[in-house]
Symmetry: C3
């Protein structure tokens, strides 16, 4: 039994195995059999794609889902996360996928809960299954991470994805740069150099756009100017190398982070990322139960 909390504590070989597993599941359309296992997805923040991607992964491996709704739960009566998890575990739930507003929510659970905990996003911390699906998408494209030039653009400071991805891609030998407005710089992000999209767009292999998380902070920019100043316009995209790809974790603010005509353009892997998310999560379920 394993937890799956963060890439920080996992060695590179294991992460590479997860990438390989996900690609293999995708190609063979054959999945590990986890039937007769009961799982629950505890999402304390709004989510469509992560939550339903997990549910699809769980159904494709034959798991039984016990549906938990934070809104109608006893959390509303003041119950703690630990008590909720312990309760569900007592009634037979054998694995928990959790998204929570609190950073490192899992620290109070792991020493006291004897079944796998999977982190589906903790506060402004990690979102390791999103990072894994990003790795899967890049590896599927290039067959390597080493020496790839990757620019991460946008709201670095509030993004779980930016933090997780920059760290793991750096560990795998990629060259990371950040193209971010002055007001969203994050001095703790030292694994890459700060730049602008205009300076690097013609050299990079991957443009990873981020979502402007307007629901997490007061808006510090004029939405009408953001695309032209900081986003991926058609003019900028025209300078990309033919082999380079566009990524975005979604949901997208159309015509803010990216011109909407680019979302389904040939170089976009945005919906491929979503498809890969299911296979990445199947790899994670397999890991927590079968490794």
């Amino acid at each position: 039994m394993n937890h799956f909390i963060s890439f920080e504590t996992l060695d590179l070989e294991l992460i590479r195995d997860l990438v390989d597993d996900a690609i293999s599941f995708k190609r063979k359309k054959a999945f590990p059999n986890l039937s007769n296992h009961y799982i629950s997805n505890l999402f304390f923040e709004n989510s469509t794609r992560t939550k339903l991607s997990f549910e699809m992964a769980e159904k494709k491996t034959g798991m039984e889902i016990i549906y938990f709704d934070a809104e109608s739960s006893s959390i509303k009566k003041g119950e703690t996360l630990y008590d909720t998890v312990k309760t569900l575990n007592s009634i037979g739930v054998e694995c928990f996928v959790i998204r929570h507003t609190q950073d490192r929510f899992y620290e109070e659970l792991i020493p006291r809960i004897n079944v796998p905990i999977i982190n589906a996003g903790d506060g402004c911390g990690d979102h390791p299954t999103q990072s894994l699906l990003d790795l899967v998408t890049i590896y599927e494209e290039f067959g390597t991470f080493k020496d790839l030039n990757i620019v991460i653009a946008g709201d670095i400071v509030h993004s779980r994805v930016a933090h997780s991805d920059a760290k793991i891609l750096k560990r795998f030998g990629a060259n990371i740069s950040f193209a971010t407005p002055e007001f969203w710089r994050d001095s703790s992000m030292t694994m890459g150099t700060y730049t602008t999209l205009d300076k690097v767009v013609s050299d990079v292999d991957v443009i990873m756009l981020l979502r402007n998380q307007n629901e997490r902070h007061a808006q510090q920019y004029d939405e009408n100017d953001f695309l032209s100043q900081y986003g991926l316009t058609t003019e900028r995209a025209a300078k990309m190398k033919p082999s380079a790809i566009i990524m975005h974790p979604a949901p997208i603010n159309r015509n803010v982070e990216i011109d909407e005509t680019l979302i389904e353009a040939p170089q976009s892997r945005i919906f491929t990322q979503m498809s890969n998310g299911v296979f990445a999560r199947i790899a994670v379920l397999n890991y927590v139960f079968n490794s």
Copy 2:
């Protein structure tokens, strides 16, 4: 692969086939096998019977349901309907049942989404699976639509059901009349004559009551007077032909549109309509996947 959006674009023979299929599924208690197909029901308006009727139809055909909750979804982060559908499709959902407040919401989806879209109610537009279950209920009773005298009574102007039903029943040769208060007349509804329940109650084969949709508009009448003036009272019902039936799409405002003692009276087909809804929807699922 087919969409199922409206009766407008379907020829009568096909609609008749759907009616026959539904009745056949009901009688034989044998259903098409759609197992290993993933479906999602996207309801952006409150609903019990339509949503759960679809879910029952999906379960009876062995489909896997990916549960979507509009309230906790990324729609709350400003995501468009198209992006939500495209996202779910990317993670493997192969069919969408959608109810949405916007008229003709499906027009932006159909050219760009490559899996079946089923309309479960669009704004003040259509509600074709409700119409289909109404057809099933009438056909099961009378074996024909031709020359039946059908009165549609109540809130015509706001009713998706009234619009869809009047059009299709007229195409099938029924004689349609509308018994509606002056303030709810709809000048665009020319497929029938305007009348009152008192004038036609003893001649009709079918009384189709509508729901007063108080949640959609300011109430324009005194609730205490509505039944006696416009609704189906026991006095009016006593004048019906013995072979005539009472229908209502529900939910019912008891003692407003209909005296509550009539709801489960021998001539009422109100709960039969609900039962037939499941078989009608099985016929639609079979059509979108197997025709």
Copy 3:
């Protein structure tokens, strides 16, 4: 076909059979097969453990769940409980588990609905599956109820559990006492004597703590003093007999009703109660369908 509404109308032999069944299902890990039966859980009050415990019981017996969400249902359009149940029954739901704010909500359903109704908590009335899981937990521990000394402590007046448990345990021959603050005494509760925890803690076999239901009434006490005055402190617990056990229906207000270090102490059966709840509910499902 049976309903399961209250212990009041059931004879002791039948209740003992349900206890035996639950313990047998737990030991053998073999469950009755109720596959191809459709069930719906209608919860009109927030709940985690009762609702999900039922869902687990339903899944373990192979039932198909039609998920009902009170918040997005036509109840919001003013539909009555009866109409909702009749509707779901018409579309094929064959059993209803219902929690409702109204006392004896089931009285209007039972004469008119032809499928099993299971009471999952009615207003300030009964909560018989909670009582059953309490019986299972006590019987599993002591092999009898007769002559056990059981103190029920806390918010007696608002507790469905206190009412149900006190009555049934008394019928089985246990000695009941109530340790409750003056302001929560209930003059209708005559099946036991009023006392304090301090007076009885060293003599009882079972301490059944109740939840302070702050969401149901204005708080009448100082939360900081409650534990020391009325709750189970470590000092009080140290005086318990070695064979005595601690129970609580949860959710727990930590350090109010009980010192939090006791929740998972060796004498606590709090999480055992939750595990037993699943088997108790399997016994109830078996009873309503197969007896």
